[in-house]
């Protein structure tokens, strides 16, 4: 149990996808101008991440990795070169379902997110989560916890960013830093804050 708690904390804070690996930066900066939108988008990413990482783990274990086809009597088959396209396929299918659900039940959020919702398909944070899972050879349970943790960390990061950016409405930056420039600086400051977690080791 404590192993899973540690994995969750590690994925959410220590190895925060947005602030330690700088993955998913485009949406991190594009959808973080208001807290309400960021909350909705963060929740969406968390759901997608929590479900696609374990799903891809199953696909990798039973279909792709070397020796995965042993259950069908083909132990020498290695389909791992199909990895990227299969993972993206799973993510794309999943995002399509999420998109239809959001459109049906949360039309306001759907309008606010605009093009960024379908673009979740190519969000590097989500693909990155899957690829980390493959590289670290997580079991199914670990993959589920890792997906939830990394999704939660990304959602927390974008919400914190949105909070600070709402506050920046009062800022008066020099000419060259107006708009996105100042947001980059703020993202750096948040990342500096998260560096405090870097050495934390819960046992």
């Amino acid at each position: 149990m404590s192993h899973y708690v540690q994995l969750f904390v590690q994925a959410a804070f220590v190895e925060n996808l947005a602030l330690s690996f700088f993955l998913g930066m485009c949406m991190f900066l594009a959808v973080s101008s208001r807290i309400s939108t960021a909350l909705g988008f963060g929740a969406t990413v968390m759901i997608v991440q929590t479900l696609t990482v374990p799903l891809n783990q199953l696909i990798n274990t039973w279909l792709l990795r070397p020796g995965a086809w042993a259950w069908a009597g083909l132990p020498e088959l290695d389909l791992s070169y199909l990895g990227l396209i299969s993972y993206i396929g799973v993510i794309a299918a999943f995002v399509q379902i999420v998109e239809m659900t959001v459109d049906r039940f949360f039309p306001a959020l759907f309008r606010a997110l605009g093009i960024y919702l379908p673009l979740l398909t190519v969000n590097c944070a989500i693909l990155g989560g899957t690829l980390f899972m493959v590289e670290r050879q997580y079991t199914f349970g670990e993959a589920a916890v890792y997906g939830a943790g990394s999704g939660f960390g990304w959602a927390l990061a974008i919400c914190a960013m949105a909070g600070l950016r709402e506050k920046l409405a009062y800022a008066d930056p020099p000419e060259g830093l107006r708009g996105l420039g100042l947001s980059f600086v703020v993202a750096g400051l948040i990342s500096l804050g998260f560096m405090g977690f870097a050495g934390i080791d819960l046992r």
Partner: protein, 374 residues
């Protein structure tokens, strides 16, 4: 409350916000400077006393010649028992650091002020003073200048000055230096400004060798409360910070909820970790009262966390913010072997999450109102 600060009042209102009151922005900032004075003065005496005690072991020759000459000229015996000698040596450590931080910060703010055609931000003196007081006495001066530049430019000026910065400039400057030059924050000759002096902080000893080593060091809890311990320039005395905090709360410049939340969060989480934690881990086992008085927590929660610009603005959020800082401080102290002290990191994270806490408070309030009124 107003009579307390009448004597410090500003004669006229110059810059925005244009509210005429005898407690305007620069008067409020002067109050904070007054509040931090006891901690700073005591910190100087303590820094000098630590240097002189270490010199007794290492030898007086390790002391810079001009400091020794200064002590002798003023007629003090160069021993840690003499408060005069301690103050002189301590000021010789502290004044250059504070002066370099202040001058660098002032130059940057003049540059921005000229560019924008208005006066320097009122928050500048407080920001650079607090930044300098959080630094270890043995830090090289060029790093002080670099950190102060980062604090003033990235922490304050590019956002437009007082009241517009999302995170506390002093914290930004400190954390920047802490991660950029970790060697200046650990090892010999750092927390006691004497070359080759061991002088580990209480929390440094704890992180390295565990609570038994702290108990073996003969230091008593009252020593740490008063502030006789190696540490950063102005932060060692929890008592002096508490006095400054009492003044700030009385003058309504600091929120008591933040301070109470922080103390409660740190004490409760320390007690919890000591009760449930694995005793084999070095950080587990230091009593909660020691956690409150060691490191820079007391100073940071009183002077840095209560900054009205970067802390939340709603009452429940302030309390939660304080608790969050206390708990995060303990988490870093106990579970992060590479960072013996986490108060500044916790405040940076607290600042980052502050707007979210406000948002959550408003949402909960709206929801409860709707439930009550239908």
């Amino acid at each position: 409350m107003t009579s307390a600060v009448h004597a410090l009042a500003a004669p006229e209102t110059h810059a925005s916000p244009h509210i005429r009151d005898h407690l305007d922005l620069s008067a409020a900032m002067r109050c904070v400077l007054w509040a931090v004075t006891p901690a700073a003065l005591f910190g100087a005496v303590n820094a000098g006393q630590q240097v002189l005690s270490a010199a007794r072991v290492v030898g007086l020759d390790a002391l810079p010649g001009w400091q020794l000459a200064l002590v002798r000229v003023l007629g003090f015996p160069p021993s840690p028992e003499s408060p005069g000698a301690s103050l002189v040596v301590g000021l010789a450590c502290a004044v250059p650091i504070v002066a370099v931080a202040a001058i660098t910060g002032w130059l940057w703010s003049r540059l921005f002020a000229r560019m924008r055609g208005r006066s320097s931000p009122e928050a500048l003196p407080v920001a650079v003073t607090l930044f300098a007081l959080c630094l270890p006495p043995g830090i090289p001066l060029w790093q002080v200048a670099l950190g102060s530049s980062f604090a003033v430019v990235v922490g304050l000026e590019i956002f437009g000055g007082t009241g517009r910065n999302p995170v506390h400039p002093a914290v930004v400057g400190f954390v920047f230096l802490y991660f950029a030059y970790p060697a200046s924050f650990s090892g010999p000759g750092v927390w006691v400004a004497l070359e080759g002096a061991p002088g580990a902080t209480v929390l440094g000893t704890l992180a390295e060798n565990g609570p038994t080593a702290v108990r073996a060091s003969q230091m008593r809890w009252t020593d740490t409360l008063i502030g006789w311990q190696p540490g950063a320039l102005g932060v060692t005395s929890a008592l002096a910070s508490a006095i400054g905090g009492a003044f700030l709360v009385y003058a309504q410049l600091a929120s008591w909820r933040v301070i109470a939340g922080g103390v409660l969060g740190l004490a409760a989480s320390a007690a919890l970790v000591n009760a449930l934690g694995d005793p084999g881990q070095p950080g587990v086992g230091l009593p909660w009262a020691w956690h409150l008085t060691t490191g820079s927590f007391a100073f940071a929660i009183v002077f840095l966390a209560t900054d009205p610009v970067t802390s939340p603005s709603t009452a429940p959020a302030r309390f939660v913010y304080g608790i969050l800082i206390g708990v995060l401080t303990l988490l870093v102290r106990v579970f992060s072997p590479s960072h013996p002290e986490g108060a500044m990191l916790a405040i940076l994270l607290g600042n980052v999450l502050a707007p979210l806490l406000d948002h959550a408070t408003v949402r909960v309030h709206c929801w409860r109102r709707r439930r009550r009124r239908g």
